[in-house]
Amino acid sequence: MDGERILARLRERFGPAVLEAGSPFGQPTAVLDRGVLREALDFCKVDPELGFDMLVDLTAVDYLKFPGREDGPRFEVVYHLYSLPHNQRLRLKVRVEEEGAVVPSATPLWPIANWLEREVWDMFGIRFEGHPDLRRLLMYEEFEGHPLRKDYPIQRRQPLIGPRN
């Protein structure tokens, strides 16, 4: 099974909800509608022809003021999947507006998504619906804002926090 077959399989299952598909840098990539994301991740994992049983990475990109992307949704959440039985990789993206930045959680499918989603929440402020424990992962609780957002002031200082209790 090659990259074209993977994308065709996604298209025949989800049809117009696959907004874009291609193989940039030789890796099959599909942009999905947010409504089908949870279902699509589940399909990629359990479908015997796809068999993407491993979540390699889950991250996000802030496209604020990105040339050519000024009008579109601000964020993109990116899933990197790997199929152990077929030795194939797949990149799934879902676009998210700044207002109501919520994505269904992948934690029920892959436990590793727990911490990856906490990191995305911490750094970008994108919420994951159905996440068991959505707290900051890297920054401390008193931290205000989400530092990897492009509009976070690069030299902003936050007050030092003292020792707890």
């Binding site: 890297l138 920054m139 401390y140 931290f143 530092p147 976070y152 690069i154 030299q155 902003r156 200082r157 936050q158 030092l160 926090i161 003292g162 020792p163 707890r164």
Partner: protein, 152 residues
């Protein structure tokens, strides 16, 4: 000037001399500077020549806090607590530019110099500092200890 005053001064000097050759350090190692610290502590550069060979991994048994590596805002309360747990007299060495000033980090996560949190006696610059610089810093610290410089 009585006899007692004269004797006390000499006692201070004796204590300072003894203290400067029995530095029990607490290595607070958080980043890459730690490799250079280990190189200094090992036999080639041999930090034991200065009486600083025994690292104590409990702050309650240590005299000198070696802060080795970048301190993030999340780590800052831990560093403060470790400093507070050390018994007096105590000294602090900032090891490497990250602990001195924040170094090349100028972002949301890094503390801009540990002297914003705890008092520092000796700054050792370098990214990372060469073992020679570390030994120089250690000798400067010994001078301070012998002179009786303390913060209470």
């Amino acid at each position: 000037m009585g006899v007692g005053d004269f004797f006390t001064t000499k006692l201070d000097q004796a204590i300072g001399w003894a203290r400067k050759y029995s530095i029990f350090q607490y290595p607070f190692v958080t980043a890459c500077c730690g490799m250079e610290y280990m190189a200094t502590a090992c036999s080639h550069y041999d930090i034991d020549r200065f009486g600083a060979g025994l690292a104590r991994f409990s702050p309650r048994q240590a005299d000198v806090l070696f802060v080795v590596g970048t301190i993030s805002h999340k780590m800052a309360p831990v560093l403060k607590r470790v400093y507070d747990q050390m018994c007096e007299p105590k000294w602090v060495v900032a090891f490497g530019v990250c602990t001195c000033t924040g170094g090349f980090y100028d972002n949301y996560a890094t503390v801009m110099g540990i002297d914003t949190i705890i008092p520092v006696d000796v700054y050792i610059p370098g990214c990372p500092p060469r073992p020679e610089s570390v030994l120089d810093g250690l000798m400067k610290l010994q001078d301070r200890i012998a002179a009786g410089a303390q913060r209470y």
